[in-house]
């Protein structure tokens, strides 16, 4: 190849060579400027579709089915910001730590060197893994936790949980909601959960499959003695002095599992109990028997319920409710903000690591040598010399990684599902929340054409966030990088 320059195979006239040269540079310029054209078209198209739909109501509202004019992205913005912050808090320390390990603590031992090289290779490969695969990993590792716990269904309480208070709530005859604390009891009858570990009468342990009657029953045809139908109830019984629940599989074989105290879905109200209403007033509930006349005084009426009666019109039983504190946690994490944030942290971790490595590599060697010369240990060198001067670079990389995270839709779709709106406000890490990219995705695919404009408006908001983050990164780079050299 290099020879052909020195001795051209074909002799070409200078004029022709010049023509080729000039026309190639024109082609280059045209092709390169196509990027500008594409970007301009994209921005114009999106602004013309969604620009008019931006309004305060749109920025603060939440999704309404079939009503694009009344829908908004308030919840989605909050959800995106919360998830991205947690994701950054998790990914940044781990990423910077890995980068420091890779750049500043190159080990001398052979085995450790292999580990070191493996980690480096692994990170480059992880950066190329599609984000949807991370989403599936998040679903398996965080949402279901590899099936180590029984999955959480709606209105079901998880096996392991902190930070939640349970109470029963009922409506009085006056139409007022009152509540009283729930106490876990060993229920005489419970519904069997998917994945319950049970043991046969001879003591063999196995995992129960719960199948709905219509579907997938045939799949378990060869496991009839490990399978029950959805909604099957187990009864409390006593075996060798232990309280256990007992039921039969669809194969007809009995099995047992240990009885634990749980909340029942409903509580009967038979005796006057102390309750509190939504204002926080506590009073004793007035329980009317069937035969008693209904009181006419509204104050008394508001504090009265019927005793549990067989007549459905007069029945007032209290049903269970859960109030989550901010630090509410349960295992598995289920489809929640925490699962989503951890998954996103895995997605951006390789980006943070690679950016931090570059920033650390950019620190002049003389700084390290000066610190070593003053007798600092390796970690002291890192902490007092390398990290302070690498911080602007690390911060820039971290912000760019966060801007990748805020636009990611696929992993969140996998981990939280296509949530568009929630009735409750985001109150704990175990809640679900809509996020901007998933909202855009769902709206873009909505049959109602109005949502197309709304999706474009949401894209403008998302792009504004990206612009903000990128400006911040450029500002940091500009402001602090000058001081070093």
């Amino acid at each position: 190849m290099k020879d052909s320059v020195a001795q051209p195979r074909k002799h070409r006239s200078v004029a022709r060579r010049k023509l080729f040269n000039n026309s190639f540079s024109v082609i280059c310029l045209l092709v390169s400027s196509l990027a500008i054209v594409v970007l301009a078209t994209l921005l114009i198209a999106i602004f013309s579709t969604g620009g008019n739909w931006l309004s305060f109501e749109m920025l603060s509202g939440s999704h309404r089915e079939n009503n694009p004019e009344g829908s908004g992205i308030g919840q989605a913005i909050l959800g995106s910001l919360v998830i991205c912050s947690i994701c950054g808090l998790v990914a940044l320390p781990i990423g910077v730590g890995t980068a420091i390990f890779l750049e500043e603590f190159k080990p001398k031992g052979r085995l450790l060197r292999i580990f070191h090289g493996l980690v480096q290779l692994n990170i480059n490969n992880l950066a190329g893994v599609p984000s949807i695969v991370y989403g599936i990993l998040g679903l398996t590792a965080f949402v279901y936790m590899f099936g180590a716990f029984s999955p959480i269904r709606v209105n079901d309480q998880p096996d392991y949980e902190i930070g939640a208070t349970y109470f029963y709530q009922t409506k009085t005859l006056g139409g007022q909601y009152v509540r009283f604390p729930a106490v876990p009891l060993v229920q005489p009858v419970i519904k069997i959960k998917q994945g319950q570990i049970a043991s046969k009468i001879n003591g063999d342990k196995f995992k129960l499959n719960v199948v709905s009657a219509s579907t997938e029953k045939s799949k378990y045809a060869n496991q009839v003695n490990k399978t029950v139908l959805l909604g099957t109830e187990a009864k409390l019984s006593n075996r060798n002095g232990n309280q256990v629940y007992e039921a039969n599989t669809i194969g007809g074989e009995p099995f047992v599992f240990p009885a634990e105290a749980t909340y029942s879905q409903f509580a009967k109200i038979t005796d006057p109990i102390t309750v509190s209403n939504s204002n926080g007033d506590t009073f004793s509930l007035n329980v009317l028997s069937k035969s008693e006349p209904i009181p006419t005084d509204p104050t008394i009426l508001a504090q009265s319920v019927f005793a549990d009666s067989p007549d459905p019109n007069k029945r007032s039983s209290a049903s269970i409710f859960r109030e989550n504190s901010l630090f509410h946690l349960h295992l598995p994490f289920s489809k929640s903000v925490l699962s989503a944030a951890l998954t996103l942290a895995l997605v951006i971790l390789p980006i943070v690591i690679i950016a931090s490595q570059e920033a650390i590599r950019g620190v002049p060697q003389t700084l390290r040598e000066a610190a070593f010369g003053m007798g600092a240990t390796r970690w002291q060198v890192v902490r007092s010399a390398v990290l302070p001067s690498a911080t602007p670079g690390i911060m820039t990389g971290a912000i760019l990684a966060m801007s990748r995270a805020i636009g990611e839709a696929a992993p969140l779709l996998a981990v939280m599902g296509g949530v568009l709106g929630t009735t409750n406000h985001l109150s704990s890490l175990m809640d679900k929340t809509p996020v901007l990219p998933v909202t855009i995705f769902k709206w873009a695919g909505d049959e109602n054409q109005g949502f197309e404009h709304l999706a474009a408006a949401a894209i403008i908001v998302l792009l504004a966030f990206l612009l903000l983050m990128n400006s911040l990164a450029i500002f940091i780079r500009y402001r602090y990088e000058k001081k070093l050299s």
């Binding site: 320059v5 500043e104 895995l346």
Partner: protein, 325 residues
């Protein structure tokens, strides 16, 4: 560079040890503290290792759940030409080829767009552009690279299809071409920036030598610089290929949800990633069911192809890199 620093560090560490003897406690304490810190750093590094292990383990275990089902034969999965998993009616077919061919079609279209355009942009940025055009082009490419893929998907389905493709012919609402173009757009900055890095790494001595022999800029570029940077350029191409195969939101929005086995770029074509997203979107995934396990089987094929391509790209870059120092 860092290896020499490690050596020097040890040397200096020995040299200052007498000072340590004067205040043995603080020196010992700082050494102990360093051990604690290094242990912490190793745990940080282990997170990424466990991520990889987790991905592989999960794909193997859960795909096993798919293939161990009585109705599934692995041979039919790898050779079948019909995919109906997740559809409620009709006979169950689970051949991967419609999904795989959808991925290949869209990736092919994207690469036809992104590879030449990305390479030409890289050549222009590295060899031709003046400082002023560079300061305009480079940020444009960076912004384009930072646009979320869901936005490009929206652009593909709401603008590329109705305004660019439908006037040209009988394109379906969801088709492979518009998704391919959008994926190509998002691959251009990737190819451009990686290839430009490779071109810039070619030392100026080579260019000067060629100019000295009377070559003009075109000849220097195409006959000296590009061949010298070829390993870097090919690895850039492979990374873009892996990115296109794994691209999800664009194809989920623009390519439709019908798995097809055709060469017609006007037809809808569900890809592997498209199928996974479609399954998640419907929120009917219940662990233990066949459509749940099928996600993992498809994801395993997806992971193997992208991981393999990324690995080959890295090997090419490391092995065939021309070193001039």
């Amino acid at each position: 560079m860092s290896n020499t620093s490690a050596g020097q560090g040890e040397l200096l560490g020995d040299a200052v040890s007498p000072r340590g003897k004067l205040r043995p406690r603080s020196s010992a304490a700082s050494k102990r503290w360093q051990t604690v810190v290094v242990t912490g750093l190793v745990f940080c590094a282990l997170v990424s290792v466990f991520t990889t292990i987790g991905i592989i383990l999960m794909l193997v275990v859960e795909s096993w759940g798919f293939f161990s089902d009585d109705k599934i034969e692995i041979w039919k999965f790898l050779t079948g030409t019909k995919w109906t998993v997740g559809q409620t009616q009709g006979e169950l077919s689970y051949g991967i080829w419609p999904l795989l061919s959808g991925t290949l079609r869209i990736t092919g279209i994207a690469m036809m767009l992104a590879l030449p355009m990305g390479l030409v942009s890289a050549i222009y940025l590295s060899e031709y552009a003046s400082k002023r055009t560079r300061s305009l082009l480079k940020p444009t490419l960076e912004i384009l690279a930072g646009i979320p893929t869901v936005v490009l998907g929206f652009f593909a389905v709401k603008f590329i299809t109705p305004y660019m493709l439908e006037p040209l012919g009988d394109f379906k609402t969801f088709n492979a071409t518009s998704a391919g173009i959008a994926v190509g757009i998002l691959c251009i900055p990737l190819v451009a920036s990686l290839a430009e890095d490779a071109l810039q790494a070619v030392p100026n001595r080579l260019r000067e030598g060629a100019y000295g022999l009377g070559a003009n800029r075109l000849e220097v570029t195409l006959k000296v610089v590009v061949p010298a940077a070829l390993s870097g350029i090919i690895s850039a191409f492979l990374l873009a290929l892996a990115r296109a195969i794994g691209e999800t939101m664009v194809v989920a929005l623009a390519a439709g949800s019908t798995p097809t086995l055709t060469l017609d770029p006007r037809m809808p074509s569900q890809t592997m990633t498209g199928f996974i997203v479609e399954t998640f979107k419907s929120e009917s995934v219940v662990p233990g069911t066949l459509s749940y396990f099928s996600i993992y089987a498809v994801a395993a094929v997806l992971f193997l192809s992208t991981f393999g391509i990324t690995l080959v790209g890295q090997i090419i870059r490391m092995k065939y890199r021309e070193v001039y120092d």
